[in-house]
Symmetry: C2
Subunit: 257 residues, 2 copies
């Protein structure tokens, strides 16, 4: 069985037109699909309305108890169920879950020497058996970026990381491709210029671009995650715009190509 | 296969101690279980914090677009995922869903001659095939009180009604019992006096009590739902406190007893 793990970011999640374009693209994919979604602006907006300060460290949200309540409501409730209801209307049998549901993603609370990120989880295990049962039943799992620790605690977990870890775990048994969908065409030589798309990238080429400072700072964690997934058996990773799921930048294991 | 459909109301959902007692009771049930939960006070509190007025008609929440966002966040996000994470910590493999997920509960927006209840759904169909697949995979589905119309619209739907309709639909294939769990011992002759529990009730007996005004006003929709489910093939319905899932008032089809 071939499985495509697709991650959509906040810019797709927040924009009704982008979602509609994305669903049309999704319908064209012939393999089984698992969708992972990010958060978007709604959690920050809701926190602000409720008077809960949003603290970011190095682009990551610090998740205190109140913020965890907000992201649980927004990610697992509002965003996840809106995606599911809309996918259903496009004839796609979506089933929305978090990592707690069916024990799909077990994690532990991150400990960090300098910063306390709060209720943020690093993944320990993926329930690949249940995920494969769901896709074999022709369901499309839609995963919100939350995990749990097995002791009743939900944890906030980065959606890019979830996509990479789910794909790596499933790659032990299935042929797995990953698509990171966002608002740009792919990996660009010049982040200001969409015509500078790099259509294909091996780890060796990426290392050179990174050393030369060509790759934009914000792309580095995404690309590191992606090449890590490839090293762990994922067939390919594509970084592309939500309007072209077969375009963008294709990352692959260069040596055997 | 025997399936028990259990509904817990807001008084259980809102109270950490009540939830813990309930999980202990739940672990003792030998059949497959499907859990349906109500809303509790959190949605009203969140609406109030966000300045969204709560309007009730005959004890039912009027669900405008803003209120639908709030109940989606609270029911499908906060409450559903808290229940799932806690059940997981008790060794119960819970999977939290709404009626949109896996197209479990298809509904239509209610039309009412006098009142506009807003985004409130009346159920048209139950995906019994998927529900039975989930319980056969040893998962415990936890259903939040939301449905969808198949055209991308989520709808707010009463949890008692969901429990009755899910049970009735599954009763075509399986032996199904229902437990309505709340904060009182069961159906009481005198709502102020817990010692006046009615341990067992047939439809004939219920009709007499209703005619005499013995049954409390708030219990009538619940009991009507329950006897309707029994008429449609559900084996029994129990109305009881969350501390005694095998106690309370047992409703059954008197004629064949």
């Amino acid at each position: 069985m071939n499985i495509t793990v697709i991650k959509i970011g906040g810019n797709v999640v927040d924009d009704a037109n982008a979602r509609t374009e994305f669903y049309a693209q999704l319908s064209a994919i012939r393999s089984a699909v698992i969708l992972v979604h990010g958060g978007g602006k709604v959690a920050t907006e809701l926190s602000s309305k409720l008077g809960i300060p949003t603290t970011m460290i190095d682009g990551r949200r610090v998740t205190d108890a109140e913020t965890l309540r907000v992201v649980t409501m927004v990610y697992a409730g509002l965003i996840n169920k809106q995606l599911v209801a809309e996918l259903q209307s496009h004839g796609i049998n979506a089933l929305g879950i978090t990592g707690a549901d069916g024990n799909i993603l077990r994690a532990h609370k991150r400990t960090h020497a300098q910063h306390d990120y709060g209720f943020v989880g690093d993944i320990d295990s993926v329930n690949t058996e249940l995920l494969s049962q769901l896709v074999q039943a022709n369901l499309l799992p839609v995963i919100a970026p939350l995990t749990h620790d097995g002791s009743g605690q939900l944890l906030n977990t980065n959606a890019d990381t979830i996509a990479a870890q789910v794909a790596s775990a499933l790659a032990q048994t299935f042929t797995v491709d990953v698509i990171y969908c966002f608002e740009k065409r792919g990996v660009l030589r010049n982040v200001e210029d969409e015509s500078t798309l790099i259509p294909s990238l091996t780890l060796t080429e990426y290392s050179a671009l990174k050393a030369n400072g060509v790759v934009a700072q914000g792309m580095i964690p995404k690309l590191d995650n992606a090449f890590d997934a490839i090293a762990r058996g994922v067939h390919s990773v594509r970084i592309t715009k939500y309007t072209h799921l077969d375009g963008g930048t294709l990352l692959h294991k260069g040596e055997s190509a």
